[in-house]
């Protein structure tokens, strides 16, 4: 409840709706047949009128995808049926700059999710992706004039091919892992952000990703380049309606944080329980730069996501704050990775997870201090909250230090809702469900307070909905 004490809390509609909107019937203008092969990969590229180098990159990546083994060190992914998935679906001919031009059914859903309202209220720019394509995109004029680029990845490639070619796949190459290869082969949509030297984008840029059809694959690709001394906050939200058939969301995000630049990347993901969410996110930070991943994962069937930071030059800083909620039938395998490659670099990883009704959440993290990265500072904290005895929480921390003069702190705690705390709150008049919600929100407060107000309210609301039923 804490976030609601401020006056702004009366905003009726937060960034996401009061309810999870359901699926709607939308005609597509083009879709590939189910499954993926070299021909379909070429079709996607042709349909997008891409330069040859991108088509070749896709085809090579497809080859890597076919030969790479599934990761076996984490959650069981054997239920993914790659042949049942639609890899590319275009809902409309082109991207719109005005909400009025977006097809009515799509607009209705985004309206319910509060997307245009949010843009008017507190965003510098907004994008909305429906299945494979971005259907709407906008950026404040004043930022355009300062040279800021905020486009869909496809538009970015069309308008700034030289920039994209210079950076695309340089932090997360296709061979990185099977799902990075798949994304590189089938990518569509996502955001391209470029912030010129010294420019600060004060308000967040937001992209919203929506899967609507069953058995859909969404492979957005995001590339953010923050030039020297610049700063930007990018926010992404995700949701999908509930189906009995599984969907696959497999994004790749690459971020370049140049000298003394600062990038914050905030995610509030609320996928429905039938989405496999397997995402590779990585940032490289140059001298004195700062990267902050704020990653909130609710929903999905299985999430595997470990936002990573490579501290390449001296005095670079990285922070990963991740929050996960695993409810019935859910597996949240999240955490973070930091590689210290230079002296005087510092990193903080804090992970908070809540497991309820048999859900399982895991912290999986890697901190590596390379030879020569002396005077590095590392702090890792994992807090897990278990709401019942059938839920599960694990930590898989790996800390690999090749330097002597390094400060490392690691803490892990498992918390349970205590009978005393419940009784205390209930003795004031709260039901067990309300008392549990309050305790969970209090536990998440460390994350909630770092979110922009509208997202804080939303996360609070989602957690209250998830836990109000009480324990067990």
């Amino acid at each position: 409840m804490p976030v609601l004490t401020k006056e702004k809390a009366t905003i009726k509609r937060a960034v996401y709706s009061q309810v999870r909107p359901g699926a709607v019937q939308v005609k597509s203008v083009f879709r590939t047949p189910k499954g993926l092969n070299e021909d379909i990969v070429s079709q996607i590229s042709e349909r997008k009128n891409e330069p040859d180098w991108m088509r070749d990159l896709r085809i090579a990546a497809y080859g890597i995808f076919r030969t790479k083994k599934m990761p076996t060190w984490g959650p069981n992914l054997s239920k993914i049926n790659f042949d049942a998935i639609t890899y590319y679906l275009r809902p409309q001919e082109r991207e719109m700059r005005s909400w009025d031009d977006v097809p009515a059914k799509i607009k209705e859903t985004f309206d319910k999710l509060g997307i245009p309202q949010a843009e008017r209220k507190f965003l510098a720019g907004a994008g909305a992706q429906w299945e494979s394509e971005v259907v709407y995109h906008s950026l404040q004029e004043s930022l355009k004039k300062q040279g800021v680029i905020f486009e869909s990845m496809d538009e970015g490639l069309r308008k700034y091919p030289y920039l994209v070619r210079q950076y695309f796949g340089k932090i997360v190459p296709a061979r990185d892992n099977k799902f990075a290869a798949l994304n590189t082969a089938a990518w569509s949509g996502g955001s391209f952000v470029y912030v010129p030297k010294g420019v600060s984008v004060a308000l967040p840029l937001q992209a919203y990703f929506r899967i609507n059809e069953p058995n859909m694959g969404q492979f957005e690709r995001t590339l953010i380049i923050a030039e020297e001394g610049s700063s930007v906050h990018y926010v992404e939200g995700c949701s999908a309606p509930r189906y009995t058939k599984d969907s696959l969301h497999s994004a790749v995000v690459e971020i370049f944080v140049k000298k003394h630049a600062r990038v914050q990347y905030t995610t509030i993901q609320n996928w429905s329980g039938n989405v496999f969410n397997l995402v590779t996110k990585r940032a490289v930070v140059y001298e004195g730069g700062e990267m902050f991943w704020l990653d909130c994962n609710l929903g999905s069937k299985i999430t595997m996501k470990y936002p990573s930071i490579i501290l390449r030059e001296p005095h670079a800083k990285g922070e990963i704050l991740s929050f996960a909620y695993a409810g019935r039938g859910q597996r949240q395998d999240a955490g973070g990775k930091v590689i210290h490659c230079a002296p005087h670099t510092s990193s903080t990883i804090s992970s908070r997870s809540v497991s309820n009704q048999g859900g399982r959440s895991s912290y999986r993290g890697l901190v590596k201090v390379a030879p020569g990265a002396h005077d590095a500072t590392v702090s890792v904290t994992c807090d897990a909250l278990m709401l019942d005895s059938v839920s599960r929480s694990d930590t898989y921390p790996t800390i690999d230090i090749a330097e002597e003069q390094v400060s490392v702190a690691h803490e892990a705690r498992v918390n349970r809702i205590s009978e005393e705390a419940l009784f205390y709150l209930m003795s004031r008049g709260l039901s067990q469900g309300d008392a549990t919600s309050l305790l969970v929100n209090g536990f998440a407060q460390a994350v909630i307070k770092k979110l922009p107000m509208e997202y804080a309210i939303e996360l609070h609301r989602l957690l209250t909905l998830e836990t109000k039923g009480g324990i067990g």
């Binding site: 809390a9 009784f423 205390y424 003795s427 709260l430 309050l438 209090g442 407060q445």
Partner: protein, 261 residues
């Protein structure tokens, strides 16, 4: 229909006599009897003082009245304004008008006192079919109460019990009571750890609230309370029963002789 709707726990019994009654209450924890037959009745506005050595069952009695899950009432009855409490959940007892001030209130990380109290107050109001209070209206109300109680106006922004001093915790419990306006308040060692000035302020608030009609059961080790509070009755507990009950004059004996026979 409208009538039915308004038939909430509080209203349903408002016609019956207003009194908190414990009749021959026996309480066990994990099969061991801690309270062995206690009878007590507190009317609105009365202040009852419960004294006795540590381990005599005072806290257990209070917890049992509030419905702590580890306490089992094996015998006897407890009624609040005619409502039987025994089979009700703790929150239902609170909604019927009961308040328990804890000797050692639990830390609730990440939750501020102000937001907590507003949540609780709105929950109680909703249960009572009343409209909820907006954050701004509540903030004004809370500030007024804090000023009245001689507390820091920013106290509402502190985390619930976490990193509060012993004295702050006690006053925090009292603050919750004043804001939530129960009918009966059971305050467990409400005065331990308070300095003389704080003690006077707390005593002042309690007598003021008793004049408003709240019935009190106070657990304390201080036999000089009578100087500060209009005590109605004193009960001395030992080994699970009341060894003596009487008026405030009993305090004089206790001050001289202690709890011994």
């Amino acid at each position: 229909m409208e009538l039915m709707k308004k038939n909430t726990l509080k209203n349903r019994y408002s016609r019956t006599a207003r009194v908190l009654v414990l009749r021959n209450v026996h309480v066990s924890i994990e099969g061991r009897e801690i309270v062995a037959g206690v009878t007590l009745s507190i009317s609105p506005g009365e202040i009852h003082l419960l004294m006795g050595p540590n381990g005599s069952g005072k806290s257990t009695l209070l917890h049992a009245v509030a419905g702590h899950p580890r306490t089992t009432v094996t015998k006897g009855s407890m009624t609040l304004d005619g409502i039987s409490l025994s089979k009700r959940e703790p929150h239902e007892r609170a909604r019927a008008g009961l308040f328990l001030g804890f000797q050692q209130p639990v830390d609730i990380p990440g939750v501020t006192i102000g937001s907590f109290l507003r949540t609780v107050q709105n929950t109680l109001r909703t249960a009572d079919h009343k409209t909820t209070i907006s954050p701004t209206a509540f903030a004004a109300q809370l500030k007024e109460v804090l000023v009245h109680m001689g507390m820091d106006e920013r106290f509402g922004g502190r985390t619930l019990n976490e990193r509060l001093s012993g004295g702050e915790k006690k006053r925090g419990e009292l603050l919750q009571m004043v804001v939530l306006e129960p009918r009966y308040a059971l305050l467990d060692e409400f005065d331990s750890g308070l300095d003389v000035d704080a003690m006077r302020q707390v005593a002042h608030i309690i007598s003021e609230q008793s004049k408003k009609g709240i019935g009190f059961l106070l657990v304390s080790h201080n036999p000089k309370l009578n100087d500060m509070l209009p005590i109605t009755a004193v009960h001395v507990m030992g080994k699970g029963t009341f060894e003596a009950s009487g008026g405030p004059e009993l305090l004089v004996t206790i001050a001289k002789k202690g709890f011994g026979p």
